[in-house]
């Protein structure tokens, strides 16, 4: 059956998952549901200790079993040690058919591939998968399905009970012996614990893992002792220098600077750019450069930002320190400057749910004016692909892409027209992650295209005459005229993954890759 973005979703997948095909962004708007809660084992005995001596004991006490679901957060990014540490213990115990429900997986988790091969891990749910696991899934090594869902979509999945987490492992930079957890301090400072809040709320067992035990109470707690069953102290939960890999220096690449300038011109010449506007941007060189050049124009015109939200970087924190933004709402710290900036009283931590969950009574993303995003591919329908490489291999993560794109009034996607020989603007994206109805403007080094549904934005930019406007088809044609039209990638029949829409419907499926025919 074809869904609202024209993707064929096979019946067998709809049946196997009990899901519906994607029907448009607001399909579930206002549709009531009952929130699911976990089983709670009350602690009334004042002699009770939550400390366990190692991961093994934690697993035993939490009744770890084959077929269970375990969850993790990715605040330690490429420096994460927790996932592999716990999964190795699970493998050692001989448990099988585990569903790994992480907020995201990346290069830090390459060691999980043998556990996929030996059947320890048979299902994966994550924002996305970078590194060797992505390739393993695309090659069909995972027995069950990989479900890729956005940060907001993950929270929805837990609170509706679609994903039932048996044990949540929360890596905490600091914890006391009673499970008050903070994302800041300690040896492995990551600033925030936003993604884990929902695990604390919904998992049957919650285990805190820390390498820095501090005196009770570790306060104010980001995740409260009231939600934590056990506390396990280990030597190291992360590699500090690999946490802040997003700490990009301001780019000197003229192509990125040019795209940043186009992006800034788009922002300042569209109607939402006025005092109190809200803004989110990513960690790419062009996004960061764009924030810097936007700051200059905000100063010139005396315009201040109302709030900035999402994963944050130094240029956003600089805005706060200069008094150019009223509040920052932080879900993830991409660099050490951001980690240390949380001492600013207007720099607030928010949960992934408050940030982006489509199934609560309104999330921050709904109040965004602008979001600046990147994309691996954008097609002539403005659909974006941020998960699957043009060669068909899973290589990225949804993150907050679909959440913010739907929420923001003006969604701007920056991507260079060509990545090597690969055209980023194409006829059909390999896999749809964010539907074209969410995407308003595409900025490339060859020109800027406006979604024809947004004549208001198109008119504003035509009037301002500030950027080279092209249609999205023109951009694709330029790309193809330079590199040639790519052959469609050959896939096998087996479906290895699902790209889930924010509301839990199916946006697209990911098939097993096939080796190209040798001639």
């Amino acid at each position: 059956m074809k869904n609202a973005v024209g993707r064929e979703i096979p019946e067998e997948i709809l049946k196997a998952t009990g899901k519906e095909p994607f029907q448009g962004n607001n399909y579930k708007n206002g549709v009531p549901f009952r929130r699911q809660g976990p089983l709670i084992r009350p602690v009334m005995d004042n002699e009770h200790s939550k400390l366990v001596k190692d991961i093994h004991e934690a697993l035993v006490k939490c009744h770890a079993h084959s077929g269970m679901t375990v969850s993790f957060h990715h605040h330690f990014r490429e420096g994460d040690l927790i996932v592999c540490m716990v999964m190795k213990e699970i493998q050692k115990m001989g448990l099988k058919n585990i569903t790994l429900a992480a907020t995201s997986l990346g290069k830090a988790h390459d060691d999980l591939v043998p556990m996929i091969e030996d059947g320890t891990i048979t299902r994966i749910e994550a924002s996305g998968v970078r590194g060797k696991i992505g390739r393993a899934i695309s090659e069909g090594k995972l027995k069950g399905l990989a479900i890729m869902r956005s940060h907001g979509g993950r929270v929805r999945s837990l609170v509706t009970g679609e994903t039932k987490v048996d044990i949540a492992f929360i890596g905490a930079p600091t914890s006391d012996d009673y499970g008050n957890l903070r994302g800041i301090g300690g040896k492995t400072n990551c600033g925030v614990l936003s993604y884990s809040h929902v695990d604390g709320d919904c998992a049957e067992y919650v285990v805190a893992i820390t390498d820095c035990l501090v005196p009770f109470p570790n306060f104010p707690a980001h995740i409260s002792m009231t939600k934590v069953d056990y506390v396990c102290v280990v030597d190291a939960i992360g590699i500090p220098e690999k946490i802040a890999t997003g700490a990009a220096k301001p780019t000197t690449d003229q192509r990125k600077l040019m795209m940043a300038e186009y992006c800034t011109q788009v922002v300042v010449n569209t109607p939402y750019f006025k005092d109190g506007f809200s803004y989110q941007t990513g960690v790419g060189g062009a996004s960061i450069a764009s924030t810097i050049s936007l700051t200059r124009i905000m100063k010139e015109r005396g315009i201040k930002m109302g709030f900035g939200v999402g994963g944050l970087t130094k240029p956003m924190c600089d805005l706060l320190d200069m008094g150019m933004v009223r509040v920052l709402l932080d879900t993830q710290a991409f660099d050490l400057d951001t980690v240390s900036n949380v001492i600013n009283p207007a720099h607030h931590r928010i949960t992934a749910g408050a940030y982006a969950n489509p199934f609560n009574k309104g999330a921050f993303v709904n109040r965004l004016d602008y979001v600046i995003l990147a994309s691996l591919e954008v097609d002539v329908h403005f659909n974006c692909n941020v998960v699957v490489g043009s060669d068909g291999v899973i290589t990225g993560a949804q993150g907050g892409h679909p959440d913010t794109a739907q929420g923001a009034k003006c969604t701007i996607v920056i991507c260079p027209l060509l990545q090597g020989r690969i055209p980023a603007i194409c006829s059909e994206v390999t896999t749809v992650t964010t539907p074209g109805e969410s995407v308003d403007i595409v900025v490339t080094d060859y020109g800027v295209a406006v979604n024809p549904n947004r004549h208001d934005l198109l008119e504003a930019l035509q009037k301002a005459d500030c950027v080279p406007l092209k249609t999205i088809e023109e951009l694709r044609d330029i790309a193809y005229s330079i590199v040639g039209e790519p052959e469609p990638v050959q896939f096998g029949d087996r479906i290895v993954g699902i790209i889930e829409a924010r509301d839990g419907t199916i946006m697209d499926v990911v098939r097993q890759v096939k080796d190209p025919d040798p001639e």
Binding site: Q254, L257, M258, L418, I482
Partner: protein
């Protein structure tokens, strides 16, 4: 006369022909000219490889109106003749002669270009020439070099080799280049050709670069050789007439046109004394503004 002799050349960007990633789409940065380098940037053992890349780039890449100049190897090598055959066959717009010392150097290249145009059935006179002066002798011969060929559209200072020849170094202040710059711009203007400044190599000092461009702009240069696309917006900003200058030039041209008809020779525009001597300058400002894409008027 080849209409491209006087085209706009504010920014002339060097690109190493041996690097496919550099030559595949430099036009996105909108330089006025690119200088595809077969000389210093290309390693000795890759000289042949650079030519095949150059030839196919010239033939197959749509540079979208950006002028394509090829810097050939020096006339003291056994490479330059084949460089010219390859460039002309590919359809380049101009040849840049390195280390030009004398008008004879220009004429040798002119002959080779003419022969190549004939060999490859390229329209005669299509391929222009520019001469880089890289020695004290070259600079002293600037005027004669400027006059050496009707194909020659301009001369360029190459500061690195020139300062070595002077037995000094690039200081960043421009003091060591003062004489050559002044001499060359005078020679070029006297001969009616364009004049281009040397590269600025410190990419970490964008403020120093800006001062350098402001200096040579004020001296009368037509443009600057550049080594990184990041330098382009600064050059264009400085070389493109400002809106107030365009408005003033428009007024001057209009006033002179009407006052001349009325037989009035001297008058004021915006409080400034104006006479016929301002006419050509004002026309030039408007032409430059039009070529830079910031003036759409009809004067």
């Amino acid at each position: 006369m080849n209409p491209n002799l006087k085209r706009l050349r504010r920014s002339m960007m060097f690109l190493n022909c041996q690097k496919p990633s550099l030559i595949k789409d430099p036009y996105v940065y909108k330089p006025d000219s690119i200088m595809l380098d077969l000389e210093d940037a290309v390693a000795e053992k890759e000289k042949d490889a650079a030519r095949y890349s150059l030839f196919h780039a010239l033939r197959e890449i749509d540079y979208r109106g950006v002028e394509r100049v090829v810097r050939i190897n020096g006339l003291d090598t056994d490479l330059w003749r084949e460089d010219i055959r390859c460039s002309v066959a590919g359809g380049c717009d101009a040849i840049r002669i390195p280390k030009t010392e004398t008008p004879e150097d220009v004429r040798r290249v002119e002959e080779a270009v003419e022969a190549a145009e004939e060999e490859f059935h390229v329209e005669k006179g299509r391929t222009l020439i520019m001469a880089a002066l890289e020695s004290a002798r070259g600079v002293m011969n600037a005027f004669d070099i400027c006059k050496a060929s009707p194909r020659l559209f301009g001369i360029a200072l190459s500061g690195g080799d020139y300062t070595k020849d002077l037995q000094t170094t690039i200081s960043g202040t421009g003091v060591e280049l003062m004489g050559a710059r002044q001499h060359m711009i005078i020679a070029a203007r006297a001969a009616g050709v364009q004049c281009f400044d040397t590269v600025y190599t410190n990419l970490n000092d964008m403020e120093g670069f800006r001062r350098d461009v402001e200096t040579i702009h004020m001296m009368g240069f037509d443009g600057k050789s550049i080594i990184n696309p990041r330098q382009i917006p600064i050059v264009h900003e400085i070389f493109t007439p400002k809106p107030k200058d365009i408005i003033f030039a428009e007024k001057v041209v209009r006033e002179i046109d009407t006052k001349k008809a009325q037989g009035i020779g001297v008058f004021t525009v915006d409080g400034k004394m104006i006479d016929i001597a301002f006419y050509d300058g004002a026309k030039r400002t408007l032409a430059l503004a039009r070529a830079s894409g910031v003036y759409k008027g009809d004067l």
